[in-house]
Amino acid sequence: MATTEITSDVIGTVWKIEKAVGDSVAEGEIIMILESMKMEIPVEAPAAGTIAALKVATEESVQEDQVLCLIES
């Protein structure tokens, strides 16, 4: 089991979280959507796995490189 940290590429706010802890995700599946540059920025799973932890909540501001969630695969 490897745990991967998913980090934010941009400063923005968490607009919508699409997955919950324990959900399985396929590679490329959207985990959450951030809002930045007046755009919806999808955060996609880099590999298939299970959401082990969500580190942010809806409407929270996030910084670049901030950890958003953990995926176990």
Binding site: D9, E35, M37, K38, M39, I41, P42, E64
Partner: protein, 530 residues
Amino acid sequence: MPDRKLDNGGPGAARIDELMRRRAFATALGGPENVARQHKGGRLTVRERIARITDQGSLREVGTLAGTGEYDEHNVLRKVTPAPYVAGLARIDGRPVAIGGEDFTVRGGTSFGALRRKGGQGGYVEDLAHHYKIPLVNLIDGAGGTVTSAKRRGYVVFPGVDGFERSVELLGEVPVVSAVLGTAAGGPAGRAILSHFSVMVRGSSQIFAAGPPVVKRSLGQIIDKEDLGGAAVAVDEAGSIHNAVETEDDALDQVRRFLSFMPQNVWELPPVLAVTDPVDRREDALLEIVPESRTRAYDMQRLLELVVDRESILEIQPTHGRAVITALARLAGRPVGLVANNPKIYGGAMDADAAHKQIHFMELCDTFHIPLIFFVDVPGFMVGLKAERQATLREGMRAVYVAGQLRVPTLTLVIRKCYGMAGMATCNKNDIDLKLAWPSGEWGSLPVEGGVAAAFRREIAAADDPKAREKEIEAELRAYASPFRTAEAFAVEEIIDPRETRPLLCEYIALSEGRLKIGLGPRTKAGVSP
């Protein structure tokens, strides 16, 4: 070529015997043990690499016998350790190239201190490419100079005795492609950078200015070679090498594919293939690909695939500067360069990495007469402290500067947003400046949302409900942003049905051939890049 032994006992036979013996030393490389070690690391030898990428039997080797001979007291040859570089002329898909690579099985592919260099910067392989005006393929697997050369010579050489002048000259003459297939440092690493296209193997090749021992001695930093110069750093993050692939065969395949789009030199047109995909293919999926919501991202890669010839896309730098997609592709068999903003990354905003990437790609296509098509969805330059620290403004304006000097035929297709200075980097005003747009297009000096709060600050502040007033002004201004109003003013040349994209682009690209013909030859550069 088959080597047949002459056994008539005459003087010719003895000479041929020596030639064959010496050739055998060359083909044995660094000996069976070193070759086995190279294979164990998942790597091919330079001769195997050349055999895999070139047409069978096409190699005309040059400098086969170069090496270090050992003789007995009667001056009879004992053995030759070959020079750690194999080079020659060959064909790839029937077209001539100059090709060469370090032989890691001989002294780790370190530079060979002969009278004349076979490869690397200033090497004979570069002269072959220059004089025959054919592409140069570098198969890089070496660490450059070694301090042991100084011991052998008794003095140290000044940097640039074997300079990069020819390497630089080639960049304006013929396609130069480098595959980094092992650990590259020093000269070979620098040589890889001075290429139009470079590729490395994820996990088994690394590239850096200097490797872990030098880093440890200089900085006290302890780091292994993969962490220092593996593809995660050199390709994904730094963009020093363009593409990363999984195996050596994949790397050689990408070299072959890249060359398939290129002319042999800047005095020729790029090769046109037979049409395999109907020119009049109209994809209904293009109608739905841009979401109703103007803030939602969509799959630009998929959009490109629907438009260009099936399976013709070769993406350049797919993992670096991802806010823009740069790809070679074909339209009705003709090579084209695609520059497309990627709404999934920073909303498509241009950051410094994306600007670098776009600049390189525009220069590549301009140099080799490959028409450019911009698929535009750019909200502007990336903003914020990180972007400013990365000199996004300067790098973005360099993209505008390079776009402003393009001579190659260019089409601009606005898919959605085209704003500000980043939008200006998607047009070529030296060309006919044909801007096509989908009905989903929108443009301006900056998006309404960004501008209202600043431009109407007092009015908004004075309102009873400032938030509501801001929204009202936004709605009013957005009505003017309809692309059809701009088309009324003939300020965008044509609005097209997305399903017409492929047939129209095929037609315009075919038409541009006349212009390409009169624009052949090297590009001259003027002025000082910002």
